[in-house]
Amino acid sequence: MKFVDEFRDVELARALGTKIVSLTEPDRHYKIMEVCGGHTHTIYKHGIEDHLPENVELVHGPGCPVCVIPMGRVDDGIAIAKDPNVIFTCFGDMMRVPGGNGSFLDAKAEGADIRFVYSPLDALKMAVNNPEREVVFYAIGFETTAPSTALTLMRAKAEGIKNFSVMCNHVTIVPPLKALMESPDLRLDAFIGPGHVSTVVGCRPYDFLTKDYNTPIVVAGFEPLDLLHSISMIMEQLDEGRAEVENQYGRVVPWEGNLRALQVLQEVFELRPYFEWRGLGFISQSALKLSDAYSDFDAELRYATPGVRVADPKACQCGEVLKGVIKPWECKVFGTACTPENPIGTCMVSSEGACAAYYNFGRFARSKARADA
């Protein structure tokens, strides 16, 4: 398959594994964070860790958009969805994320008209087809997803569609990376950079990692060889004492990003002064809201929401998982009270969540055996 088979070649994978071993100092422990949930998914699905020396540790970062949504924002969405005139739309993975008073799926079971869509453009189409109803789209995601919301809003404005609005929860990638670098309980040697976010934002936003923190980052694709190649590039940098931004995913990611998409984002959104991230707390200027030019489409201005901060369940350790402080299986409720069927924490909800990836691909037993040894 074009662009797939080429990046799953077993011999090349073995060669890259050998190269990584040759670049590893036996007495040093390496901690490399993959920021993106998509990378976490690939790592466990394809057993990437099995190709790495034991002293090269992959730490799972906060790049799963569903996982970082705080419970209070779910409750706010449910409050809007319960308006009988509203058709409330969201991405499928959001449906089971628990809020303080249940999930969107629970609210749907209680009668709210909640539908999942694959694209905000489909939500807009729903508004056109249901002129007597109000359609609200619950927008989540990093800079990969934000352009689709922005484009949808621009089309809604251009076509004069009044019965459509967006509850914006889009977040940006750089502020949480800064927060992680400032975190006293985490020491990272390097980052595997998010591939598709970088398609939009480019590679320049990561310069601060190399300049301010002397930490390498390699933007990587999502196939197994992409990840092994990016890890070998990181190990080369560490071996040579370099700290640079490198782009392994050049077939997709332009160094400057998608300038048209960035222009659209700037027109439709503006930075929030602060936003709560699950597990990371409040991070300043880390999320987007609709700009004044698009405030007519802002669901938070159209509808009353509780706006209450809800603490995570005490048993849930998603916050520590999201910061890479503990492994998913070290959480007290992993695989017992918290499973993909009945998730307590967001990391178990999304297939991109570190806990779900561990659980679904059977990596738990091997990791635990390693740790016990």
Binding site: K2, C36, H41, C64, L121, D122, T145, R251, V252
Partner: protein, 85 residues
């Protein structure tokens, strides 16, 4: 691996080209590689590696023509693809 194009489930939906992807379909940093079949204004009918066709918003990657390879996410193209060795 590639076979005859699959049936288009809803020709007006922006979902179809996403629906066969493994992992988190829409909300994550996951995108789908597709080939442009036909351009209609700011939309294009595209085909994913499984032969599934669907509508894609191409406003952000214009100009686009049939045969181009695009990366799409949530029904919107975010990048042109280049060949890689």
């Amino acid at each position: 691996m590639k076979s005859e194009p699959l049936e288009v489930l809803d020709k007006d939906s922006y979902a179809v080209a996403c629906s066969l992807v493994d992992g988190c379909l829409t909300c994550g940093d996951v995108a789908v590689e597709v080939e442009v079949i036909e351009v209609d204004g700011f939309d294009a009918v595209c085909e994913d590696p499984h032969g599934q066709r669907g509508k894609v918003g191409v406003d952000l990657v214009m100009p686009v023509e049939a045969g181009d390879r695009l990366l799409i996410h949530a029904g919107v193209a975010i990048s042109h693809l280049k060949e890689s060795k």
